[in-house]
Symmetry: D2
Subunit: 331 residues, 4 copies
Amino acid sequence: MNSFGVIFRVSIFGESHGPAIGINIDGCPPGIKVEPEDFMNDLRRRQSGSTGTTKRREPDLPEILSGVFNGITTGAPITIMTRNSDKISSDYDEFKEVPRPGHADFVARQKYSGFSDMRGSGHFSGRITWGLVAAGVIGKKIAASAEISAKLISAGGMTDIEKAVNEAIATNDSIGGIIECRISKPPKAIGEPFFYSFESAVSHLVFSIPAIKGIEFGIGFAAASMRGSRHNDPFIDSNGTTSTNNAGGINGGITNGNEIVFRVVVKPTSSTGVDQTTFNFTEGNMTTLRVKGRHDTCIALRMPVIVEAVTAIAMADLILIDRGIHHKRKG
Amino acid sequence: MNSFGVIFRVSIFGESHGPAIGINIDGCPPGIKVEPEDFMNDLRRRQSGSTGTTKRREPDLPEILSGVFNGITTGAPITIMTRNSDKISSDYDEFKEVPRPGHADFVARQKYSGFSDMRGSGHFSGRITWGLVAAGVIGKKIAASAEISAKLISAGGMTDIEKAVNEAIATNDSIGGIIECRISKPPKAIGEPFFYSFESAVSHLVFSIPAIKGIEFGIGFAAASMRGSRHNDPFIDSNGTTSTNNAGGINGGITNGNEIVFRVVVKPTSSTGVDQTTFNFTEGNMTTLRVKGRHDTCIALRMPVIVEAVTAIAMADLILIDRGIHHKRKG
Amino acid sequence: MNSFGVIFRVSIFGESHGPAIGINIDGCPPGIKVEPEDFMNDLRRRQSGSTGTTKRREPDLPEILSGVFNGITTGAPITIMTRNSDKISSDYDEFKEVPRPGHADFVARQKYSGFSDMRGSGHFSGRITWGLVAAGVIGKKIAASAEISAKLISAGGMTDIEKAVNEAIATNDSIGGIIECRISKPPKAIGEPFFYSFESAVSHLVFSIPAIKGIEFGIGFAAASMRGSRHNDPFIDSNGTTSTNNAGGINGGITNGNEIVFRVVVKPTSSTGVDQTTFNFTEGNMTTLRVKGRHDTCIALRMPVIVEAVTAIAMADLILIDRGIHHKRKG
Amino acid sequence: MNSFGVIFRVSIFGESHGPAIGINIDGCPPGIKVEPEDFMNDLRRRQSGSTGTTKRREPDLPEILSGVFNGITTGAPITIMTRNSDKISSDYDEFKEVPRPGHADFVARQKYSGFSDMRGSGHFSGRITWGLVAAGVIGKKIAASAEISAKLISAGGMTDIEKAVNEAIATNDSIGGIIECRISKPPKAIGEPFFYSFESAVSHLVFSIPAIKGIEFGIGFAAASMRGSRHNDPFIDSNGTTSTNNAGGINGGITNGNEIVFRVVVKPTSSTGVDQTTFNFTEGNMTTLRVKGRHDTCIALRMPVIVEAVTAIAMADLILIDRGIHHKRKG
């Protein structure tokens, strides 16, 4: 199930060490300006390079294979890909017998009967999210009025993220983090109950991103400790502006026009430089594994732009559906 | 978008004060025993009646309109419905001009251009979840080996839930809560990356349930503060059993055979007996609203069975997809 | 797979002798007037009663369970059903061992492992098309500018249809026919290449109707004998009007604004009063079967309105998709 | 809507004169042998070169970008593409003001507001069917037991096809034809009523192929002139073998195990070397157009393999769905 969306549909493909990775985007309206350079800012934000990220370097230049002509979308499906390079596949050989704890090695072998290409974690690699970011650039153009901005607000339990990363590096370990996404000037009234609420669409895509294990909208889990009279956001004008925003801009699965706010948790990178006790499936006994290769100390550093991208993809789909059904509505 | 699922598809319908509510279930294999009484236990768990729940009483008896013959599923679509009764629609008239804070009143009017039936909150009512519970009963039969069990683990921030409810009643206010769902003996290797991970499927459905604002799998948001070497779950035998279960039974979006664990947060019921300052859209000024009618002090009390139901629906779909693609796999 | 559509989705349910048959319609815009009497004309056209149709009589009154409030669609899913009555199930007992040639008896038993409810042909019965006609009434309202009109243009190979039917009755046999559907004033530019061309959408639904075995658009099969210079329809004005209409109003899967024309073939009713040699699966030998019960001599007589209905359903979906993607287009 | 399928999903992309064309295939089971050379036979059958086909030559070598590792499918999505070459785009400039009769020029401009890339007919080009043939190769491997064979049985109304083509070439005109597809040893009991009958799935895909205007299953349109007693296919043994095959191997939308037979009609190529009277949309008056460039006299010559391909794609999807739902059925 490597596609998602009702009208604005994305189909993702590629393995970490295969020939190429990319994404196919269907249902994009014609007439939208798209130049290769439009992708560079977001793709660069996803790239490694800063402290705490892997030493694998990919130029990651996008090639647009279809759907764009003279720098404008045509209405035909858009396929964007990039070639893989800088691959060191031998790093991954031993995980066949000793699957890495926390990784997909074990489940992938079970599910795909041993046929999956697990070099560089294959189709499970965080590298596959390149295609999401590319599609997100298109999605942002469709949700043009909205300003989608995600950032890492804590790492390893600390708000001083640089300090947290340096401490983790010092112990050869990895850390996770929390990303907050805010959407100002969102389109009003998008989200399609019962089963395609704004939260449903966003969470569906968010949980496709490797390493994400939780999401909360608005005040989120803290709502469990609040009284209703405090949690409810009072309206203060005829636009539907509310004086508080505990709902995170969404009521009944539909955007109410206030800022949309949600947070996701990124687990610590599974690959660490620390010895781990685990099981050798070939020999049938416990063993010690230290994952070599090049890894991110804090993969969450690279993920805000991915969270923005899937949000934009979900919003683009919800906007086009809403326009289809409610085309007569004013505004 | 009132349907969900790839093979096992549910289509929900009905409004709180309309003639009937129900669900259509497609893709159910033939040969499964289904009697009307099979639904009663779960439907009763969803019903109101205990302290902290609304005084509206519905017999809620299910009528199976199709797809079951001689107490066995036929392979044709199953439609299950129940008539609405005990309706007092006049309670809802004033919300047209003064939309209730925290409710869907405002967004529904925006989205549906004023045409939605908002009596009893209409299609946004928690009452619509009756159909989810009915479909969940079928879903549980498909995921037969698994034991799905959800319970309310805290309310209003307290683990003594009875006390929390009584305190809220005493102040005419409402409270939320946290529900934990555990699935023991889950099927191994279900979940379809990239876009239909186990978490994606479950969260998509969970966020269709009114009042849910967050979900976390395994150790969840606490993972943000853990080191990778602690978070990773070491394998201890050839079945893939792990000594800890921070991943909540899921790696790479695929079940690993360990217990599946997730938690959701239910916001406090929006309707409370407390005066709330809000906006009168007809008069264009601030006003005070007290919601009359019959409401749940703690709607979370009635929701564990709904969380179980959507989990079972998601699992049924993932199981049938997995069988379709991987039918040759042993086990 | 008992649902169809991308935005305007129909989910059909029911068996011929079960409690009820009906349809669930999702994605219908709010604000459309729908009264129970709006259905009566089309439902009556589908009914039996005239010479050449079955003696089974069903009042077939529609009950709208959801999605319509004060005679106007709300935007929530619309469920419409009718109770089954006038059932004589004993007629069908013997087909378990001697499946009727030309019927679904044999394949249904194979596919559903003997669990399907085959009373009155169950979910395979032509009776299930009641729901299509009901949904078609809504579809026609969405495609409001278009006039969809289907009629039986030949039966048993003759254009004098009354004569053909009487001859078939005289021999206790059955006949098929050809239905032509014409859509004047169609919306221009609907149809979504590559995979959801106008022809794809219509043919998909047309072949869901029992007994239809072929479809051709425009000049259809006759095109195989024409030269391109004759087949091409020359434009004669800036609206895209063409002097001939061999394409049947569709180029490249997209409507060009000219009248849409297609024809479908209905096979003769499988059940006849004539002795047929066939196989007894219980005894393992050849036998002679005469189908008793009440049947249509020429089921095609009742089918023009069903063909109109599925056409309207397809058009409604294509219109809403087109509006979603191309909302900025003028006109 | 450039994707199709429930489990086995294909997403097509590319324009005739863009950088590349290709297809993305999702839901393919792991463990299937796929080598680049497996595609060559079918891709060559689709190529031009013989008398009556265009002089445009493309090497059309497939590049597998993902989903295949060590010559075996991995279970991850398979993307296959080929670069476009031998493009002469200037041929197509004048069609902007004088759309070619019978072509998509006019509707594409309407639908895509003038933004579509119509060089070489863009996404409407027959060239895009390359991806279908590539996916069909995979589909045939899934439907491995079945032998799918399509051939051109008449052209320009003649069964001597070579003669028909030569006559058309002599007059600079084009001709259509009729292709018959036969599937021997088909899987029994595939097809999913109500809306995904075997005929629905195949016709949906068949009408995505440019130039096809009709389809009939079994005896097809001739059924309209037959009596039921003659049309019904009598069973002659316990396997469900029938003595005649007027149903074309399908009852109630489900395969009955007999040979599957259907025919499609291909209209004459729209581009001909004959002068055509048509409309100049810029000048607003009638004009004479002669289409230059390189074209097929009889595009139907190249289409049998495409018809096989879409049949295989439909069958692969129906097989995987059937396995998912009916996994417990013997056989």
